[in-house]
Amino acid sequence: MWLSYLLTFILRVLVGAHPRWIGSKPTTALRIYYANHTSHMDTLALWCALPGELRAKTRPVAARDYWSGAGIKSYVATRGFNVLFIDRSPDNRDRDPLAPLGEALERGESLIIFPEGTRRAQALPSPFKSGIFHLAAKFPNAELIPVYLDNLYRSMPKGTYLPVPLTCSVRFGAPLPRVADETKDAFLERARQAVVDLA
């Protein structure tokens, strides 16, 4: 746990990561937080913005190939902020890559996901990949909370490794309303728009 506190402290000093609960309140309800993805610090920033008691029950989702290399990175990810790994490389596709997410939700753990799939060096999110659609359909009782992370794309743009201190806020929006019989594309665009609206 000391590692979590250390990471949270460093992040607060560097980028603030102050939570702004605009459309929802921090509660223990089963949730899928989904956010725009612009820097290496996004996962940590969103996780740090949650109150301590929610962090224990919330798993940031990350790609195994990126985080679980040997050594300190994987140690930090698993021990420091409880990362849930997914396999995104094709040769690991003997099972559904999203299966661990479903298992976590069934255990009552909330998730943090980045539906763009990869980092983008821009203020507004790119179109979403379809994972969030399937997850939402399978777990109708989970609240989908749009989250907007501002300024982090300026603090640590793609290709850089030292963060510039900047004040960043983490804005939590209202749960995305569920619409019956919505097409995949309509859902993905509506989900993305909810993040854009927080920008």
């Binding site: 102050h18 060096a121 300024n151 300026r154 743009p157 793609k158 850089t160 030292l162 510039v164 201190p165 900047l166 004040t167």
Partner: protein, 314 residues
């Protein structure tokens, strides 16, 4: 009186003032509470609470000594620079110069004070920092808005690091007959500049009618500046016994601090507005950001330093 004794008297006075302010705030809160509360009173009380914390930090720091003071101001500069950069539009090509500002130029500037290397301290950022930043910014190959981007970095660095570092740099001055007491001189600067801010705010709220610069800083009034400024000069003169100055000299130096601090608040308010913000940040409850509290210090500190060096050092 020894330096310690002077310090106890000064802080006794400040604690008395804060207690009085808290008491007045509490009474006002009780009065407006019956009528549904008032944002001005809430803000006043938040400000007073933040003052308790800031005074406590300076007091603890007094006993920790010179290096702690340098570190404290380095941290304050870093937060102020962070606020400045947050409000300034930057592009990915600014990343390298920004990294160098935070992780190289700022620590070196404060290390020069701790080391007592005055000659380099005075020119390090205006010469080497100034020339280095545009060179670093070319590395990305991004020339879009190049001049205005580089200028903003240079400006932010000069205000938040160079100018603010002049406050702890007062420890380097060697005023005859005042050896070993320079921490008091720094606390004198902070006391006069902050009291001037507070008193201008109070006089402005009570008697303010004629705005000095309605478009730049709507809260600054002639009545606030004159009433608050003169009161601060009076208090600054009355505190002559913690400085190397005579009472009359202390009044003159306080006037310099008050005018420079006022102009700093005015100029930085214009900068803030041009960046589209009302406050620099939100880290000090009721006050706004670090730079909202240090804007007047950033102008008053270098001017006070050089006036003291010019008139009181052989």
């Amino acid at each position: 009186m020894s330096m310690q004794q002077k310090f106890y008297w000064l802080f006794g006075g400040i604690l008395g003032l804060l207690t009085l302010a808290s008491l007045i705030g509490w009474i006002m809160h009780r009065q407006v509470h019956r009528r549904g509360g008032s944002p001005t009173v809430d803000n006043l009380n938040a400000r007073v609470r933040a003052w308790w914390v800031m005074v406590a930090i300076i007091a603890v720091n007094f006993f920790l000594g010179k290096n702690a003071t340098v570190v404290l101001f380095a941290i304050a500069s870093a937060f102020a620079l962070r606020e400045f950069v947050t409000l300034t539009p930057t592009r990915p090509g600014d990343h390298l110069p920004l990294v160098v500002c935070f992780y190289v130029l700022l620590p070196v500037q404060y290390w020069l004070i701790a080391d007592g290397w005055y000659n380099l301290f005075a020119i390090f950022l205006p010469v080497y920092g100034f020339l280095l930043l545009p060179v670093l910014a070319t590395a990305s190959g991004d020339t879009e808005d190049f001049l205005s981007r580089v200028t903003k970095l240079q400006w932010g660095l000069m205000i938040t690091v160079y100018c603010i570092s002049y406050a702890p740099a007062l420890l380097l001055l060697q005023v005859p007959g005042y050896a070993g007491q320079n921490l008091l001189l720094m606390i004198y600067l902070l006391t006069v500049v902050q009291l001037s801010d507070v008193l201008q705010y109070v006089f402005g709220k009570l008697f303010g009618k004629h705005k000095i610069a309605p478009l730049v800083s709507p809260s600054k009034t002639v009545e606030g500046f004159v009433g608050g400024g003169l009161s601060a000069v009076g208090i600054g003169a009355a505190l002559w016994w913690i400085t190397p100055f005579t009472p009359l000299q202390a009044a003159g130096m306080s006037a310099v601090i008050v005018v420079a601090g006022f102009l700093g608040g005015l100029a930085l308010s214009a900068v803030k507005r041009s960046l589209g913000a009302k406050d620099w940040g939100s880290m000090i409850e009721g006050h706004g950001g670090m730079l909202d509290r240090l804007d007047s210090v950033s102008f008053a500190a270098p001017v006070f330093f050089h006036f003291t060096a010019y008139f009181f050092m052989p």
